[in-house]
Symmetry: C2
Subunit: 240 residues, 2 copies
DNA sequence: CAAATGGTAATTGTCTGACATATGAAAATT
DNA sequence: AATTTTCATATGTCAGACAATTACCATTTG
């Protein structure tokens, strides 16, 4: 592990990259303990604050965790699915909010991706996930729900639909697609009639899942996409 | 912007979270300049190294960039698609390599997701993207190619297929699914016969794209998934 | 003898102060 | 007017110190 002091990049960035490469290449395995900050300082020939900045960079990406005390130190972290979810959602949300992505493009991608779980969910959806979907449908039908609560329930419904595919990798990948759309959906003010149409489509999708009919689930999602696009067009002209 | 000194969490983590929330909430917009490190030290009532560690955490997530000099400082960064790609791929790769995900599960998710671009790519694929796919097919047909080069070309083929949908959000989301599989694919040693079958399926997919037949693209991907699963089963028993 | 107690070393977390370096802008000079 | 110099400001890096936490070990005590 050596770094180039002549590079224009920050030393802490170089050190972070060097350690990250070790982890990705598998030379530092999960739960392995990194050398102490003092030892890293010597190895890289930099001061301890510089090493610490490098370690914080890695900690921000959940690549390492640190522990104080006698047997403490920095350990290679097992990236958990919840952590990966959170990172995925944050990145996706920021990407959409910062890049003049049209509602249409985001919506198209979101539903295209979500349809990829249609067949699997229809085949495998557990009673629990189906019940969760139905519970959200019921919540969405209640009058007097705020727009935020309606949107949150909408996300929960889709989350249950995705999780019904019983494939954690798929759930992880779709988390970004589904949740990152929420801020955009929150901009929509739903009329009672809009909500009724959406709830009806949710019911149609849930029934298709119950009937283990993947094609029908996919069709329901497509119908929901068209409904959402219509609502979006009434709000945004082209970009936002 | 205040922090809780009684919390068990690191001060730098709290400060990073506080600033990140400001960015996500839109109170700090793109290209806005954060207060200088000295000013942040005063505001949060911590020392400059602590502030710096917080800023490095944000820099690691590409949320800010820093610049030295008189008019320098930390600025809110516009998260670019390439940066988001890179983060997505790193996270996905680590998630798969660290969590005993079966080859079958990963493969299933990957192809399920990739099929979501079948219709869009069939409709919209440009001549350039189609040519890129055909170029990779040609490269893959060459004898004497190393396994790594064959896999890299495989990824490039799928990347072109995904990009053909002409939806950057979709490309971003699928980047993780497609590229994160590469380390797993690299573990497979392809026989000449294996390669021939894969190349034939690629050709079948490219032709379906050219014919603007989305269903045929989807079917081709499904056939490729089955082929890949067969190869995977010959390598791994259950977990790896 | 077993268990509670206290000390000790190791390690991260934080602070203070300082100097190096880069950079834009204003001031001085040609 | 154009160029050079100077300067202020900001980040990058360093050294040293102390605080807080924690595991381990020796000691004391019941």
């Amino acid at each position: 592990m050596k770094i180039d002091p002549k590079s224009t990049a920050d030393l802490s960035a170089q050190i972070a990259t060097a350690i990250r490469d070790e982890i990705i290449a598998g030379r530092l395995i999960v739960d392995a303990r990194l050398p102490s900050e003092a030892e890293l300082s010597e190895q890289f020939e930099v001061s301890r604050p510089t090493v610490r900045e490098a370690l914080k960079r890695l900690a921000a990406q959940s690549l390492i965790r640190t522990q104080r005390g006698a047997t403490g130190g920095a350990f290679v972290n097992r990236l958990s699915f919840p952590e990966a979810y959170a990172q995925q959602i944050t990145t996706s949300t920021l990407l959409l909010s910062m890049n003049d992505v049209s509602f249409e493009t985001a919506c198209e991608a979101r539903f295209a991706l979500e349809r990829s779980c249609a067949d699997l969910t229809a085949q495998r959806c557990s009673a629990d996930h189906l019940a969760a979907m139905r519970a959200e449908i019921h919540r969405q039908s209640q009058p007097g729900l705020t727009d935020e609560a309606f949107c949150a329930s909408d996300v929960a419904f889709h989350r249950a639909l995705v999780d019904g595919a019983d494939n954690p990798v798929l759930s992880y990948q779709l988390a970004g697609a589904v949740e990152a759309m929420q801020p955009l959906m929150n901009m929509i003010t739903f009329s009672a009639r809009d909500r009724a149409r959406i709830v009806a489509l949710h019911e149609r999708i849930a029934s298709a899942v119950e009937a283990q009919n993947g094609a029908a689930v996919s069709d329901g999602l497509t119908a929901l996409e068209q409904e959402t696009q219509t609502l979006g067009r009434s709000l945004f002209q082209e970009k936002f």
